[in-house]
């Protein structure tokens, strides 16, 4: 069905403190681009003391700092705002280059994936570290990046039984996505490596350098390099910097 024939986007209250905007359901770069465009439009039109806008794959949530006074007025205002806007190409985002050690000691599920997908370890590593990924959103844990853009040949289901503890920095694959555990936590994704970087720091404001819409590229490092970067991170010497990126 053509999207122009559907009723999307829908705008409706979700409780007394938020308004939910839903676009045609889907997990794709194109869909996310649209979502991010409207997200920045809303952020430009509402002060950040009053609202926070969060996104998922095909939804936006406008979360208010207090009760919404007149919900009908507010929904109408949002509808008007988004119906008037013309989608332009995404203006600005950042690209982060992230080291990952794919040593089997960290990549505890490399063997499983290799068997399932009939790929060598090296092929898995190349397939995983070639694409430029998009941060769809941050969720599940503070600082957990949901990354889209995983090569089809690496799509693999989550573990039947989640692990009780996945270590901090673990790089995993869950269905069509890849992501990094910002702290040790229970988790069901297939683990292929480890990044020595910090992805969430509660003592920094903002606590994460990443925002939905940003880009991520992984580069393989050896165990020694992993150890070295870990040390630099600990000493506060490693500075993760984003590069300006034109989609």
């Amino acid at each position: 069905m053509e999207s122009s024939l559907t009723n999307y986007p829908t705008v409706q209250p979700m409780g007394e403190r938020s308004i939910l905007i839903e676009f045609e359901p889907g997990i794709s770069e194109k869909c996310l681009e649209k979502v991010i465009f409207y997200k920045s439009l809303l952020e430009k039109n509402y002060p950040k003391e009053k609202v926070e806008v969060i996104n998922t794959y095909s939804s936006l949530l406008i979360f208010y700092s207090t009760h919404i006074e007149d919900i009908y007025d507010e929904v109408l205002a949002v509808r008007t705002l988004i119906s008037k806007a013309n989608i332009t190409k995404k203006t600005h985002c950042q690209l982060f280059r992230i080291p990952v050690c794919y040593d089997p000691e960290f990549g505890v599920d490399l063997g499983f994936i290799s068997n399932e997908k009939k790929l060598s370890f090296q092929e898995i590593i190349t397939l995983h570290s070639t694409p430029v990924y998009t941060v769809y959103f941050i969720g599940f844990l503070p600082g957990f990046l949901y990354l889209g853009g995983l090569d089809k040949s690496l799509h693999i289901s989550r573990r039947k039984t989640p692990r009780l503890s996945v270590r901090k920095g673990a790089v995993g694959i869950g269905e069509k996505q890849t992501g990094i555990y910002p702290k040790s936590s229970p988790g069901g994704w297939q683990i292929i490596g480890s990044s020595p970087l910090n992805f969430f720091d509660k003592n920094m404001d903002p606590p994460s350098k990443f925002l939905a819409g940003d880009k991520v590229k992984f580069y393989p490092v050896s165990r020694d390099e992993h150890e070295l970067i870990l040390e630099e991170v600990r000493e506060g010497k490693f500075k993760l910097k984003g590069e300006s990126y034109e989609g």
């Binding site: 409706q12 209250p13 979700m14 409780g15 007394e16 403190r17 938020s18 939910l20 839903e22 359901p25 889907g26 997990i27 950040k48 926070e52 806008v53 969060i54 996104n55 998922t56 794959y57 095909s58 939804s59 936006l60 949530l61 979360f63 700092s65 009760h67 919900i71 009908y72 959103f137 941050i138 969720g139 599940f140 844990l141 503070p142 600082g143 957990f144 702290k183 969430f200 509660k202 003592n203 404001d205 903002p206 606590p207 994460s208 925002l211 939905a212």
Partner: protein, 286 residues
């Protein structure tokens, strides 16, 4: 002069809460804040505290606290038989305490969560704009024996309750006001009828993150593409379990969001304990 409180016994589960962490959902940080925001606001109002001052949220079995300095306190929300120096005191009335006085709690009479406010408010570490305790965000996430909690200086007198109308009924009422959730329309007519006509019991799995209900709702709705969730979102799992997200919930979820509690619905639910009955009452926006 700064005042302090010493934790002699931690009780079951207590945390420090202010009005919550606003602006960090985009980094995956939960909002937190008091489970029952009505009782929280009431406590600060009675003491003439600035709105949103940090209080102690006390769950079911209260702690034993020793005051090291003089101050004023008030307790709102659940009635957990609070006592000063073993003499029972009443909820929603300000009391003066002095050095050495001990606050303790007895049996639970009504509700689930009490709020202890001190004139001036608790002065604990602020992380990402909020004092609300949450594991891995704040250094502490539950009250521990031996802790010393600092109280801000207060120059105003408690307002008292003379001018405040208190709704004492809301935490014993089983009615939970709800709105239709984003996936409400996926429910069959039979499911809608069942959800809105029967009572549900609070499951043993209930905490600041989510409260589950005991009864299973036969369900064929498939999981949705992960979407935003907030406190008060009622999810229906493929196995038919109803999960009501609360103040410490994650920011996204993949189960159909069939209902959304109103703010007063969340506050009422926050006062329910395992085995309590709740009945959803659907409403439209005013």
């Amino acid at each position: 002069m700064k005042a302090e409180i010493e934790v002699l016994q931690p009780g079951l589960f207590s945390t420090i809460q202010d009005s919550g962490r606003f602006g960090y959902l985009k980094y995956g940080v939960p909002m937190s804040g008091p489970m029952d925001s009505y009782s929280f606001q009431l406590a600060n109002l009675i003491l003439n505290n600035p709105p949103g001052s940090a209080v102690m949220e006390i769950t079911q079995m209260g702690p034993v606290l020793k005051f090291l300095n003089a101050g004023y306190l008030v307790i709102t929300g659940a009635n957990l038989s609070p006592q000063i120096n073993k003499i029972e005191i009443r909820n929603a009335i300000p009391y003066a305490v002095g050095p050495g006085d001990v606050l303790s709690f007895g049996t639970r009479k009504t509700g689930c969560r009490s709020y202890l406010a001190m004139a001036g408010g608790f002065n604990t570490e602020k992380v990402l704009g909020s004092q609300s305790w949450y594991e891995d965000i704040t250094d502490f996430y539950r009250l521990q024996k031996g802790m010393i909690l600092e109280i801000n200086e207060s120059i105003v007198k408690p307002a008292g309750t003379a001018s405040i109308k208190i709704d004492a009924h809301y935490y014993i009422d089983s009615t939970i006001p709800v709105f239709a959730g984003p996936e409400f329309n996926y429910l069959t007519e039979k499911q809608v009828l069942e959800i809105l006509s029967r009572g549900f019991k609070i499951d043993k799995n209930n905490n600041r993150m989510a409260i589950q209900l005991v009864e299973i709702m036969p369900n064929e709705i498939k999981p949705i593409i992960t979407g935003p969730v907030v406190a008060g979102t009622v999810q229906l799992t493929p196995s038919g379990k109803l999960i009501i997200l609360m103040r410490d919930c994650q920011t996204t979820g993949g189960y159909p969001r069939i209902l959304q509690l109103s703010e007063s619905g969340i506050n009422r639910l926050a006062q329910k304990v395992q085995g309590d009955l709740v009945e959803f009452k659907i409403q439209s926006f005013p």
